[in-house]
């Protein structure tokens, strides 16, 4: 069953008189519960793709079907509801609220949905059970990203979008985060989409979408994805 289906999606940014085609006729499909890795160099359009799927940005043309619903013509309010109920986001630089503790950072988003998961269980599951009352500044980079994942997952989203989630982390921590993302998504039946420029990560995804200059260069399916712990970069 298709969770994400994009058909001929185009996104053009205009800067003064210059038009930049960030996405050019992109079409792709991601199954429910699938782990997709979007790979591409800087400026290839991978973040734009993530933003459009996440309802943070809109396309100029094309169809964006999420769980069978076309969101390309959504109003702003509908987009808010979409992000609220369907999407979990993990950022490269975490974007946590520094004035809230670990628990509060997760707790603040549970008001968004009735279908949310248990805050403490999620925090325990990301390995921060003994750090709930600490503030972000007390945490290491890996812990910050764990917290970011917990915050994204607690809403019980259908899609978890991760923008360079290991970009600011060392190899060992990065591997742990990837493991956590994969396990958490699997455990909760979440479709996982990771955007990265790190080609070493491609081996671990169920599906690898290669983007270059706003166009899809290839979509490959890994029948036997690599064990995350074997990834090196």
């Amino acid at each position: 069953m298709k969770m994400i289906k994009l058909k001929e999606v185009t996104k053009i940014y205009q800067s003064g008189s210059t038009k930049i085609k960030a996405l050019n006729n992109i079409s792709l499909e991601i199954e429910k519960g699938e782990f997709a890795v979007v790979l591409g160099p800087s400026g290839s359009g991978k973040s734009t793709l993530l933003n459009i799927i996440g309802g943070m940005d809109t396309a100029n043309s094309g169809v964006i079907e999420i769980d069978g619903v076309d969101i390309s013509a959504n109003s702003e309010a509908e987009m808010e509801n979409y992000r609220r109920n369907m999407i979990g986001f993990v950022f490269q630089f975490y974007n946590l609220i520094p004035s809230l503790t670990v628990r509060e950072n997760v707790d603040i988003v549970i008001s968004l949905t009735k279908n949310h998961l248990d805050v403490d269980k999620i925090i325990d599951s990301v390995g921060l059970g003994d750090r709930k009352s600490l503030f972000p500044f007390n945490l290491s980079g890996g812990e910050l990203q764990r917290l970011s994942i917990a915050r994204a997952v607690v809403k019980n989203p259908k899609i978890l979008l991760c923008d360079e989630p290991t970009g600011a982390l060392d190899t060992q921590t990065g591997i742990k985060i990837l493991r956590l993302l994969k396990d958490t998504a699997k455990e909760n039946g979440i479709t996982l989409m990771i955007v990265t420029h790190n080609s070493n990560i491609k081996e671990i995804g169920d599906k690898v979408i290669l983007i270059k200059d706003g166009e899809i260069e290839s979509i490959t399916k890994n029948t036997y994805p690599m064990e995350i712990e074997k990834v090196k970069w």
């Binding site: 808010e80 974007n95 004035s99 968004l112 949905t113």
Partner: protein, 767 residues
């Protein structure tokens, strides 16, 4: 460096709107300060210049009359060679209720009328040089003729010229009036020969001397005997002291208000500069990474603050005297009579500009310095604020309360703890706004309240008359007139604490009364005081100034009458006049015969009273109140300007601080939006932050405003009356509506931006 200068000017072109707050704050602060400073400085200089042009005397000698023999002895025994002798009589214009004070001079060496129209003044010439204000109001011109009457003798004078007299800077015509009544009262200069026609054998009574021939009272007494009343030096002359007081009052008003204005402006500038420099973090990081010296980067950003604050200050410096000064001067000229009022800049304004510009530069340098203290990689990484240290606050330690608070509020409270300076700035902004508005409204309401209290609570008479003092106590003359009557003797005097030789001496009114209840004297608790026997009552403000209380001895000195030590028996809370009140019996026992100069009446036939030959002038209590209110208007004009400035300031500062707050949190709001928080929900968080600042600022503002009003009233009030800070409840509500309304409106306007947050752009710097 050249390229940094080019960048500065290009940046200024791009970011000019962000600097509008700084520009307007400096413009308003300097505009208001300079607009008021040029007036008080100009008043000082104008009076000095006017004095020189009028050959103003350095010593005034008052006598009961100077004979021919005295003139010879004054020259031979005391050495008076250069002097101006004068005689002053009060006259009426025939068949009108208009009065002219006529002054005859033997020369104009130390008193020269300032001629504005007509012939040059000639002390020996025929005709009359008339007060220009009286002439203008009554449409009289040089060449017109006036029939003047004095004690039944009439004489016709041709108006030779229209003049002003420096000694009549605050001329009202009667002690009963606080504002000039140019329709009824005027003055004129005539020759001694002309005066003799109206008042035959009337002697010279006053002598004016120059700076080089000041004579002691002892020497004058040795020649004139008991005909000598008293002498006064230039520094003691009431009209000059009043000008000094006016100038001081305006100076205090402008300085006190400016302090608050400037502090708030500095705050706004600090916020604006911090905001702008923070927004250039990546550029600063890049410049540092490229190897540009930190001092060069600091100079570059320091120039932002320098340019806009200097521009605002310069325009304020120019516009203040053009816009603000004329409004105030016009009001002041309704009772200060000058031929010109120069507007002269006071050097203090440059110091204030220096302070404001320095604050701006400091804010820019501080913010830039904070960023530059990090290594370029950290500056450029701009990892939002995950490294921000948050400490647990007091409230947080009360776990049971804290755990019940919503996360949004916890976030706000912790953010405020973390950004103490920004939070404090917000509070000070609201507090400052409340203070300025309350002070602006409070001063006018306090004066209006005092006027009402004096003329409605204290004064129980319907009419008040000046009566001739140069005769015995003429009670029987008025007996035919029906109605209630009270006779008062009002004399200015100097009062001091008797056991302190070097103690303060204050000028006040010495009132002796037969106390028939037409003026209500109340104690400090508001209970009525009955004056009898040996009662000596001192008014509260004067008692505080002299630091005396019931049972203390005070020294009372009345020029021309004598000096006496009196024991205080009661303290009165009456607001005006400030001085000493005693029974007529006590007066007679302590000083001399009771010869009243004021008659208070109630339910009398006003016409009969006016026709009484002993009555010089009669007015009503209502007219006195009307005049006092007119005088209040001159203060109000200044207060309205300050009030308007306050509102602009409040709007700017609160909007700037709210914007700063919003910008600092924009990424966090964007994150929440990405997670699906609706704009309304985030708006609630933003508003709760503003509400917290506004509530704390408002509560602190109530206390600060009350205290500031108290200090302000004390510093601008006059010695002659007590102003008790008074503010109607509606003003508190109004100030609250303005400040809270502006604060919440700013938050609302900013919250509208939440819907427009570009979610992609908000995270761009991160990536």
């Amino acid at each position: 460096m050249k390229h940094l200068f080019i960048k500065t000017f290009r940046d200024i072109k791009v970011y000019w709107s962000q600097f509008l707050g700084v520009f307007f704050m400096t413009l308003i602060s300097i505009g208001i300060y300079n607009g008021m400073a040029v007036i008080w400085r100009g008043l000082d200089i104008s009076v000095e210049e006017y004095g020189k042009e009028c050959n103003m005397a350095h010593q005034w000698i008052y006598t009961k009359g100077i004979s021919e023999e005295d003139l010879i002895r004054l020259e031979s025994d005391v050495g008076i060679k250069n002097a101006t002798y004068s005689a002053v009589i009060r006259s009426e214009i025939k068949d009108s209720n208009q009065y002219l004070e006529l002054t005859a001079l033997d020369n104009d060496k130390f008193m020269k009328p300032y001629v504005l129209k007509g012939e040059k003044y000639n002390p020996e010439g025929a005709g009359l040089w008339l007060d220009i204000k009286f002439a203008e109001t009554n449409k009289l011109e040089p060449g017109d003729k006036l029939v003047v009457e004095c004690e039944g003798i009439e004489n016709e004078f041709e108006i030779k010229g229209l003049v002003l007299n420096i000694e009549k800077l605050l001329f009202t015509g009667s002690n009963l009036l606080t504002m000039p009544d140019h329709k009824t009262f005027g003055y004129a200069f005539i020759s001694k020969e002309s005066l003799n026609k109206l008042a035959p054998f009337y002697p010279y009574t006053e002598i004016r001397l120059g700076a080089d021939s000041i004579i002691s009272d002892e020497a004058l007494e040795s020649v004139l005997g008991d005909r000598f009343l008293f002498s006064e030096k230039r520094e003691d002359m009431i009209f000059l002291k009043e000008m000094e007081r006016e100038s001081n009052q305006m100076m205090k008003m402008s300085i006190l208000f400016s302090i608050v204005f400037i502090l708030l402006s500095a705050l706004t500038m600090y916020s604006s500069m911090s905001r702008l420099v923070s927004s250039q973090r990546t550029i600063i990081g890049t410049m540092k990474a490229l190897g540009i010296h930190t001092w060069k980067i600091k100079i570059h950003y320091g120039l932002y603050g320098f340019f806009f604050s200097l521009l605002g200050s310069t325009i304020g410096l120019i516009l203040g005297p053009v816009i603000i000064s004329p409004i105030i001067v016009t009001m002041k000229e309704s009772y200060i009579i000058l031929p010109y009022w120069h507007l002269i800049r006071h050097d203090s304004v440059y110091l204030i500009i220096l302070g404001l510009v320095s604050t701006c530069i400091f804010a820019s340098l501080k913010t830039t310095g904070d960023i530059l203290s990090k290594v370029p990689a950290v500056i450029l990484r701009n990892v939002s604020n995950m490294d921000t240290v948050v400490k647990t606050g007091f409230l947080e330690r009360l776990g049971c309360i804290w755990s019940k608070l919503p996360n949004g509020l916890k976030w706000t409270l912790r953010d405020n703890r973390r950004n103490k300076v920004r939070f404090l700035m917000g509070i000070v902004g609201v507090l400052g706004g409340m203070t300025l508005i309350i002070a602006g409204l409070g001063v006018t309401q306090t004066i209006e309240y005092a006027n009402k209290y004096i003329y409605k609570e204290q004064a129980k008479y319907t009419h008040i008359s000046e009566i001739k003092r140069d005769s015995q106590y003429k009670k029987e003359v008025f007996e035919k007139t029906d109605g209630e009557k009270e006779y008062n003797l009002n004399m200015p005097g100097a009062i001091s604490k008797s056991d302190k030789e070097d103690g303060k001496e204050k000028t006040g009114l010495i009132i002796a009364t037969d106390n028939n209840g037409l003026i209500a004297y109340k104690d400090i608790e508001g209970k009525e005081i009955v004056i009898f026997g040996d009662d000596v009552i001192i008014t509260k403000k004067l008692a505080e100034q002299l630091d005396v209380c019931v049972g203390d001895d005070i020294r009372v000195k009345i020029k021309g009458i004598g000096e006496k030590t009196l024991k205080i028996t009661k303290i009165s809370g009456n607001l005006s006049p400030q001085g000493i009140i005693m029974s007529k019996e006590k007066w007679e026992k302590s000083f001399t015969d009771f010869m009243p100069n004021i008659l208070l009446t109630k339910n009398v036939d006003a016409e009969e009273l006016e026709n009484n030959s002993l009555v010089l002038f009669t007015t009503t209590r209502e007219y006195q109140l009307e005049q006092a209110d007119k005088l209040t208007k001159s203060v109000e004009s200044i207060m309205y300007i300050l009030f308007l400035g306050s509102i602009i300031l409040v709007v700017t500062i609160i909007y700037t601080l709210s914007t700063l707050n919003y910008i600092e949190r924009e990424r966090e709001y964007a994150t929440l939006r990405v997670f699906g928080f609706r704009a309304g929900e985030i708006r609630g968080i933003l508003l709760s932050d503003s509400v917290l600042t506004v509530i704390i600022g408002w509560i602190a503002g109530i206390f600060a405003a009350s205290k500031f009003l108290d200090i302000y009233i004390k510093s601008v009030s006059l010695d002659s009356l007590e102003w008790i800070p008074y503010l109607e409840n509606s003003s508190w509500i109004f100030a609250t509506i303005v400040v809270v309304g502006v604060s919440l409106s700013a938050a609302l306007v900013l919250s509208l931006k939440i819907r427009k947050i570009d979610l992609v752009a908000s995270f761009k710097s991160v990536e």
